[in-house]
């Protein structure tokens, strides 16, 4: 893995992930591994928009990581946040991205994981939180097959039915673009888990999900 220098500290850290939005480093502090997420500048955006997004997303992510855990969803704990450098220091979760596991596990295991994913999303929704980017890339599966949700930069609080419907729609969207050969199986299992946890309240969000799919197009 490549070594890079981060910030003024000149710490030699390892890049874990290089996304469109951020760079995530694995870093050592106090003899322990941590993940350091740094939101890069997007030079193609107007400066005002860019800095506002970096700031609001960093603080949102930080806040929701904690709230989600209070709702019973596993998330990395936050140790520090820096709104000047737009970075968050959090737990490093030892595990594999759900996205990468999809092709490696049995169908039975996959359905179980999807059900648990649906349950976690429902736990958030019941607490009035939407994830905002619920893809299989943003779920880490640890060695005990426990799910950890990450990447809460697009999350929102005080979620309405519409916002929950959009969240579910995004799951479907992610499955159809990334896991198209298993999309039906995975979506069904995820929705099953969602209903399992959200109970009667699931109905409204699910019917909204189906409605959203038809928008933004000619009719």
């Amino acid at each position: 893995m490549s070594k890079i220098y981060y910030g003024e500290n000149d710490m030699k850290d390892v890049i874990l992930a290089l996304g469109a939005e951020s760079v995530i480093f694995k870093t050592q502090r106090w003899n322990q591994s941590f993940a350091l997420k740094w939101r890069k500048s997007k030079p193609y955006l107007l400066e005002e928009i860019d800095s506002l997004l970096r700031k609001t997303r960093t603080s949102k992510e930080c806040r929701t990581l904690t709230i989600a855990r209070e709702l019973g969803v596993r998330t990395p704990a936050v140790y520090s946040v820096d709104l000047n450098s737009y970075s968050i220091l959090m737990d490093f979760i030892e595990g594999t991205q759900f996205k990468l596991l999809v092709e490696r596990v049995s169908q039975k295991q996959l359905m179980e994981l999807c059900q648990r994913f649906g349950q976690s999303i429902a736990q958030l929704h019941q607490g009035g939180v939407v994830h905002g980017d619920p893809t299989t890339s943003n779920v880490i599966v640890d060695q005990h097959l426990r799910l950890w949700l990450i990447d809460f930069g697009l999350s929102e609080m005080n979620a309405t039915v519409e916002m929950k419907g959009v969240d579910l729609h995004l799951i479907r969207r992610a499955l159809e673009t990334t896991h198209w050969d298993k999309q039906e199986l995975m979506l069904n299992a995820t929705i099953e888990g969602y209903i399992d946890t959200a109970g009667k309240e699931a109905e409204d969000s699910i019917s909204r999900m189906n409605e959203i799919r038809e928008r933004g197009r000619y009719h």
Binding site: K42, Y44, L45, D133, T135, V166, L170, R173, I212, Y218
Partner: protein, 329 residues
């Protein structure tokens, strides 16, 4: 001998007839756009426009190409997605010609055609495509035998948003080019709702807020500037997410709104960041026109696809990812 295809496009307010050879040469590309004197596009008026002007546009295409009706080998038509009445009018013309000339009929997906004509022009092989028009706003890429929509608008299309805003300012249709010009004189940025959800976006909140700025007396150039920066920024962000996700090395910008220079600048900035090649489809091939339908018709026909008249009903809600792309491996 190369094949020659006549393509008819008529999904919305434009009717187009294009003639293209299997070597990718555009022999003719004629179109006409309904410009409502006020308000938006009414599907029935648009279909009326197509039936009134369609035949003469088709004749003009043959004149420009300098060929005879008997010289064409197949007919392609835009089967969807689009406005039902417009699609039916266009399909009727295509079927009639196919029967009359006794040649095969090919049904083309409008969105897929936009991508493939862009590929023909740019020489791209496998791009992430940003398709922006009055009726569509999608980020599309090929994966697993189909063109898949990675992101799109959850409410209104970007072109529609610009037109509605322009109408609010009292600008004629289409307002996009006027808004672009006004935006260049804008100096002050007003923060507007920036709504990215996963790889999808939403424009309705931003539109409402922009209208409010106008009622508060904010100068039009500043509103146009703020709207462009915000709406294009959102689009650029989901395009970047799609590139980062798919790791593709080409970015294609197409559709009527591709004419906007600021959008082009922003998206080329995205591609630079990912060392991807960038291409904006030229105006004559970026908007709704028949050449793209004809070219896609050829691609489909050569891969063994044609459609019987009896099953050629239109598909107003035909999704981009519902068609098997037989001509790509």
């Amino acid at each position: 001998m190369p094949l020659i295809c006549l393509g008819l496009e008529g999904t919305a307010h434009s009717f187009g007839a294009g003639i293209v050879t299997s070597e990718g040469v555009v022999l003719a590309n004629e179109w006409d756009m309904l410009k409502p004197s006020q308000g938006g596009i009414h599907p029935r008026e648009a279909s009326r426009h197509h039936s009134d002007f369609g035949p003469s546009i088709i004749s003009k295409a043959f004149e420009t190409a300098d060929i005879n009706y008997r010289d064409i080998d197949l007919i392609a038509f835009s089967r969807g997605p689009g406005l039902g009445p417009c699609l039916r009018t266009t399909a009727t013309m295509a079927r009639t010609l196919a029967v009359k000339l006794g040649i095969p009929l090919v049904d083309v997906n409008h969105c897929v055609a936009h991508i493939e004509i862009g590929n023909l022009e740019s020489g791209f092989d496998d791009p992430v495509t940003v398709y922006v028009s009055g009726g569509n706003t999608q980020v599309i890429a090929y994966a697993g035998g189909r063109f898949r929509t990675f992101g799109e608008t959850l409410d209104i299309a970007i072109g529609n948003m610009l037109d509605v805003l322009g109408r609010h300012f009292g600008m004629p249709f289409p307002a996009g080019p006027i808004i672009e010009k006004e935006a260049r004189a804008g100096r002050t940025f007003y923060s507007l709702p920036y709504s990215v959800k996963g790889m999808d976006i939403s424009y309705s909140g931003m539109l409402t807020a922009a209208k409010r700025l106008f009622s508060e007396g904010i100068p039009i150039p500043d509103i146009c500037f703020s709207v462009q920066e915000t709406s294009f920024g959102m689009l650029a962000e989901i395009a970047e997410r799609a590139i980062a996700h798919t790791k593709k090395k080409e970015l294609l910008l197409t559709g009527g709104v591709a004419r906007n220079n600021r959008l082009t600048e922003i998206l080329s900035g995205v591609s630079e960041r990912h060392e991807a090649r960038f291409h904006r489809v030229s105006p004559s091939l970026a908007g709704d026109q028949g050449a793209m339908i004809a070219w896609n018709g050829i691609l489909q026909y050569k891969s063994g696809h044609e459609i019987k008249i009896s099953s050629s009903h239109v598909l107003p809600k035909w999704r981009t990812d519902e068609q098997d792309i037989l001509w790509r491996k």
